[in-house]
């Protein structure tokens, strides 16, 4: 057995640290494209500062952003599981990365607000497991998503009547949510939208859409592809801008994920992802091979 607990711990610790020290290349690419198009001087200054921040973080080996937000690990696996101890390994590696100054201790008890000081706590990090029998490797996608952005999120159980012709009701809900969020979610942001299922499913899909998809990809579903483009353009036409102080780009992309729902309801979850895309991934093969995703990996 190649993957001993020690070997797995080392890989996961390095993944956590690397994820804090940079942003995924899709995010950087979209920020650079936005800067080229920007006509507002303040927004240009803000976008330049963001790109400078990414460069300095790399050079100085410091976390891109002070807030690690809340971590979720998306794990897909097959019968060759390699999952032993991973919850414990992540919890411990996060505590070690916190002690070493890569993560701010931000996790608190939800009611007493008491901070244990090391990012330990119930359900930290969060895990989403998907069984993929055809897959020979175990894939981890680690996503630290900022929580100021969460303050802009919204969820609604819509109805057929609310949906309206040409999905106008749905579109308005998304655009009005973006206007209300303003500069709170650290624009330029990416918006994840989950449609269908019930409340829990729509919200999980929304978070997943901004966490595991490449922000430059194109939705294979033609209807969703069209909606993603239209919503992104309309949100940018509100001129919220980078940092929320005006400008041409507040939204880098809209990503929609969909499942079927019940005939009585249309659950819609909206999740904002701030520009610092602290996302990293790794594929672990039973024979000892490994591949990094997002950062210095196959997606670069």
């Amino acid at each position: 057995m190649f993957w001993t607990r020690e070997k797995l711990y080392e890989e996961i610790y390095n993944l956590i640290v690397d994820t804090c020290l940079s942003i995924s290349p899709d995010a950087k690419d979209l920020l650079q494209q936005s800067l080229k198009k920007e006509t507002n001087e303040t927004a240009k200054n803000m976008l330049q500062t963001m790109l400078e921040d990414v460069e300095m973080a790399k050079k100085l080996k410091k976390p891109v952003c002070q807030s690690p937000g809340f971590g979720t690990v998306y794990v897909s696996f097959s019968d060759t599981a390699l999952l032993k101890d991973i919850k414990e390994i992540y919890s411990q590696a996060i505590i070690e990365a916190t002690k070493n100054g890569f993560l701010r201790p931000s996790m608190v008890h939800p009611l007493t607000r008491k901070n244990p000081g090391d990012n330990s706590g119930i359900g930290v990090p969060n895990f989403e497991f998907v069984y993929k029998p055809e897959q020979e490797y175990v894939e981890h996608i680690l996503s630290f998503k900022g929580c100021g952005a969460e303050l802009g999120n919204a969820m609604k159980i819509m109805t057929t009547a609310m949906l309206g012709k040409n999905y106008v009701g749905f579109k308005k809900f998304v655009i009005e949510t973006a206007l209300a969020a303003g500069g709170k979610p650290c624009p330029p942001y990416v918006i994840g939208i989950g449609i269908g299922g019930q409340m829990d499913i729509a919200c999980k899909l929304a978070r997943q859409a901004v966490s595991i998809r490449d922000w430059r990809d194109s939705n294979p579903d033609p209807l969703l592809k069209e909606l993603e483009k239209e919503l992104c353009e309309k949100i940018n036409s509100l001129k919220i801008g980078a940092a929320g102080t005006g400008g041409d780009t507040s939204c880098l992309a809209v990503k929609i994920e969909m499942v079927s729902t019940h005939t009585a309801i249309l659950p819609v979850g909206i999740s904002f992802h701030c520009w610092p895309a602290r996302r990293g991934g790794i594929r672990i093969y039973p024979d000892g091979r490994k591949e990094r995703l997002f950062l210095g990996g196959i997606n670069q």
Binding site: P63, Q66, P105, G117, K234, A243, G244
Partner: protein, 193 residues
């Protein structure tokens, strides 16, 4: 739109001269405070006690740093703004303490706009997520209080040099970039469909 360099303690005149869109760099001392920090300040004042720092002419930065403990001191690694709207209920309170500037992100609401006019304060937008750039402008951690609240919520007193770029998002005349964007955005949405 002008570019301004200011030093702490701030004078009311410096702030009354600032208009939305101006870019500011600040040198001197700034204090971090967020949700729990503001509640703690209120608690201390309600008990008739003094705050550990004098905030007359002071700057409140909505932020919590990443630090590394070295012996008994803290090395500040990075720091950037947190979402300010959560501190909306406390603007009048901090204005009354003599605070002249709030630095944060995302803007604040009408209660804050009123307090800015009443006390001669300004709200400045820091570049969001840019914790390395901003952290490099912190010369040292001068002091830290209320560590029992946890690293993010403690009151950190930071010595800064040309801390910025900061954009005046809300000024002491009652103008607000955030309000302008919202009002205009509502009209645009009405015309969209």
């Amino acid at each position: 739109m002008k570019e301004v360099k200011l030093n702490t303690p701030l004078k009311e005149k410096d702030i009354r001269d600032l208009k939305i869109g101006d870019v500011v760099y600040i040198s001197g001392y700034i204090c971090t405070s967020r949700d729990m920090g503001h509640l703690k300040m209120k608690e201390v004042i309600a008990e008739g006690e003094k705050l550990p720092v004098d905030l007359t002419g002071g700057v409140i930065f909505h932020a919590g740093p990443v630090v590394k403990k070295k012996d008994s001191t803290y090395e500040l690694r990075v720091i950037g703004p947190t979402t300010s709207i959560r501190m909306e209920p406390h603007s009048d309170f901090i204005g009354n303490l003599g605070v002249k500037m709030i630095i944060g992100k995302g803007g604040m609401d009408e209660g804050t706009s009123n307090a800015l006019q009443k006390y001669g304060m300004a709200y400045l937008q820091a570049p969001p997520g840019c914790a390395v750039v901003l952290g490099e402008k912190v010369e040292k951690v001068e002091n830290v209080y209320w560590m029992e609240l946890g690293v993010p919520e403690a009151l950190w007193v930071l010595k800064v040099n040309e801390f910025g770029p900061l954009v005046v998002g809300m000024d002491s005349t009652g103008d607000s970039i955030y309000r302008d964007i919202k009002v205009n955005g509502k009209k645009l949405i009405e015309k969209m469909f």
